[in-house]
């Protein structure tokens, strides 16, 4: 989640539908806005067709006026963050590559993807690009070996996604055992509260990884646990489809003190609906 310092940034954000398309900002006044990604489900199925009037947003308990709700037609930026450590070697890596291809194949015109792989080193294999063949090729070239810097990789993906100033889906695939990171998990979770990306995890571990669970929860995503023998391709597709069905809600905070942690509550006027979104955001002191 980002506090917009200028609507000029927001204009770029909303109108830059195609990667590489030059868009001129259309507003120049300074407005502070908050953007949140929201998933609404009923009985496990995403609910579509809702408008601004269907939502209620509370910032630190104070009801807010919603400026804009968008869904579906926004481009998706996927930062694929793949575990290439020894523990996913062999057949696991082959399955992982296939899953990555499945997800990339599901991207459409205007979408873009980047590939970050990690073992003890976190490496940007392909920068964000609409040329998806580049990502496919890099996926094929990925080799497994070494330790797992899951936490460092997650931080790198979050920062990378945020640098793109766009709606970013971060997919972290891992066996869930960090063995090599430098950055403490608490600092990464703190960062997750300050950035835009929504993180989904795909874990092959039978045990829940507390870090990945917390990271996805903070950003409004979740962890899909798959067995070691399963093909995670469908899980990747599920993540992408879910992300596309998320509503993007914007509002300009009012009646709340600036600065510090702001807890968010998002409600919807569907009694059986379940809302998944980030738990709050950090706002710098003005």
């Amino acid at each position: 989640m980002t506090i917009w310092r200028s609507i000029a940034v927001a204009a770029t954000l909303w109108l830059g539908a195609a990667v590489g398309t030059a868009q001129q900002p259309i507003f120049t006044s300074r407005v502070e806005g908050v953007r949140i990604d929201v998933l609404v489900t009923e009985d496990g199925t995403a609910v579509t067709g809702l408008g601004a009037g269907d939502f209620e947003v509370r910032d630190n308990g104070v009801p807010q006026s919603i400026d804009l709700v968008r869904v579906g037609d926004l481009p998706v930026r996927v930062v694929l963050t793949l575990d290439a450590s020894a523990s996913v070697g062999g057949d696991r890596l082959a399955v992982l590559k296939r899953a990555g291809r499945t997800l990339i194949d599901a991207l459409g015109p205007g979408d873009a993807a980047a590939l970050i792989s990690f073992n003890r080193a976190v490496v940007q294999r392909v920068a964000l690009t609409p040329h998806l063949d580049d990502v496919r090729r890099a996926l094929e070239e990925t080799e497994a070996g070494g330790e797992t810097a899951l936490i460092d990789a997650s931080l790198s993906a979050l920062l990378y996604g945020d640098a793109e100033l766009d709606r970013t889906l971060v997919v972290v695939f891992s066996d869930g055992v960090d063995t090599a990171s430098f950055v403490p998990p608490a600092l990464v979770l703190d960062t997750a509260q300050r950035v835009n990306g929504v993180v989904y995890g795909v874990s092959t571990s039978r045990d829940k990884d507390p870090f990945l669970e917390a990271l996805t929860s903070i950003t409004g995503g979740h962890v899909l646990a798959i067995g070691r023998a399963a093909d995670p391709g469908p899980a990747f597709l599920e993540i992408l489809q879910e992300f596309r069905r998320r509503y993007v809600i914007t509002f300009t905070p009012s009646g709340v003190d600036p600065g510090g942690w702001h807890s968010l509550e998002v409600g919807v006027n569907r009694p059986r609906a379940r809302v998944r979104t980030r738990r709050g955001y950090f706002s710098a002191q003005q």
């Binding site: 523990s87 970050i116 070996g145 920062l159 990378y160 945020d162 950055v183």
Partner: protein, 439 residues
């Protein structure tokens, strides 16, 4: 016992309880003679190798010793003790048998002491006379180097063993990325080296060679992330106030507190095996205690202070960590340690809510190690928080840059093994000491 080893595989020799030890079926035979197939030739071959081996070289003496079977080595374990006992006292008639730590075979084959026939005793007397001629101390040192060289210079040269040969032997476990990669049998050569050094030396603390050997072998093992808990335990028992040994002991416990080893320990819970890896909190506490003891023994041992600062931070004692790291930073220090100090100072400052000081520290770390990635990632995070997107992007691009040929590794990746960087040099010193005059 379990050991994990290899340049990619992390190794630790841990005292495991019985489930991983395969007990031999034979009954103990208290006071009995050695097995009927006892021959003197292995002992003669061993003594010839001790005399003839050029330390640090792969020569016929070494390859001959390396090719001894596990059965031969077990016999040698008993016979060398008897030989050295006779060399020390030609009239000795009782031969207590020390058990092989972690190897249950001996306990089932021999009891507390053994006897020899007249013929066997005559052979032993002759060999003991040779030991006295060479010098018992010289034999001890050279024998320790022979067995060390077998392990370090000719790994895997042992013979194909018949089925069941390893019954009762301890095991080494290889782990990588937090999970077990396989098990192999441990080598008796370490046990023989320790035994020959121990057996004829009533006061090891007065033996600088012995101290140097333990220091070198532990450091060499840790340089490949091979952590041998049995070896360390023995070294600590012999040299409880040695700063270098205490530093290495602290490093072992610090390593066992890392997610790599903790993940492995968790993976054992679903098996019948046990390890002596304790919780991360307990291991960090043990590491802190060893580092403090090392500094008490040698306040100028900066590496112990750097690592103390880190384990304090990991325990959440950030102000204490900062104090130790600042003291370390003031001392003359190797570049790699300066990198660690700056990196850990950055973390401590971040934890204490001082991003500006953290930024300075991380920048120093980045300057100390051009190949480093960790400080750039930390700086990218700080830049995000301060709203400096250009700086964030620039730092991030350095943190996740492609790995190219000749790109130096981040020293952070070697933190668990860096303490062993002097091991080879120290072992060469030990070899030179053993190469001296035969008497």
């Amino acid at each position: 016992m379990v050991q994990y080893t290899g340049p990619r595989w992390r190794a630790v020799l841990l005292a495991l309880s019985l489930p991983i030890t395969i007990a031999a079926a034979a009954d103990a035979r208290a006071g009995q003679s050695p097995p009927s197939d006892w021959r003197s030739q292995e002992l003669e071959q061993w003594l010839a190798a001790v005399e003839g081996h050029a330390p640090g070289r792969v020569d016929s003496s070494l390859t001959g010793t390396a090719s001894l079977s596990v059965a031969d080595l077990r016999k040698l374990w008993v016979d060398i003790q008897a030989l050295l006992a006779i060399a020390a006292n030609p009239r000795v008639t009782r031969f207590p048998v020390r058990p092989v730590p972690g190897d249950s075979w001996l306990r089932t084959q021999y009891a507390r002491e053994i006897t020899f026939s007249r013929t066997e005793r005559a052979v032993l007397d002759g060999l003991a006379a040779r030991v006295r001629t060479i010098g018992t101390d010289v034999v001890r040192r050279r024998a320790a180097v022979v067995h060390t060289d077998v392990l370090t210079l000719t790994p895997g040269l042992g013979p194909d063993e018949p089925e069941g040969a390893w019954a009762g032997a301890f095991l080494r476990m290889h782990i990588g990325d937090g999970t077990s990669l396989g098990v192999e049998h441990g080598s008796l050569h370490w046990e023989l080296a320790r035994m020959v050094l121990d057996v004829a030396r009533p006061n090891p603390q007065l033996d600088p060679f012995m101290r140097a050997w333990y220091r070198a072998t532990i450091a060499l093992g840790q340089s490949t992330e091979s952590f041998d808990a049995v070896h360390m335990k023995r070294a600590l028992a012999l040299f409880p106030d040695d700063a270098d040994v205490l530093l290495l002991a602290g490093c072992e416990r610090e390593a066992l507190a890392t997610p790599l080893f903790q993940a492995f320990a968790r993976s054992l819970r679903s098996t019948s095996m046990q390890s002596d890896i304790r919780s991360a909190r307990t291991e960090l506490g043990a590491a802190e205690a060893f580092f403090r003891r090392a500094l008490a023994a040698n306040p100028d041992l900066v590496e112990a202070r750097v690592r103390l600062g880190r384990v304090l931070a990991l325990q959440g004692r950030l102000a204490d960590s900062l104090r130790e790291l600042n003291r370390a930073a003031e001392a003359p220090i190797e570049p790699v340690l300066a990198y660690y100090v700056a990196l850990f100072l950055g973390l401590a400052h971040e934890g204490l809510g001082s991003p500006s000081a953290a930024r300075d520290a991380y920048r120093r770390a980045a300057e100390e190690a051009p190949g480093a990635r960790a400080p750039h990632l930390a700086l990218a995070r700080i830049a995000l928080e301060s709203g400096d997107r250009d700086e964030m992007t620039a730092r991030l691009s350095r943190a996740v840059r492609p790995i190219t040929a000749g790109d130096p590794p981040d020293p952070w990746w070697q933190y668990r093994s860096m303490q062993g960087r002097h091991g080879k040099m120290w072992l060469d010193e030990v070899r030179r000491a053993a190469s001296g005059p035969r008497r």
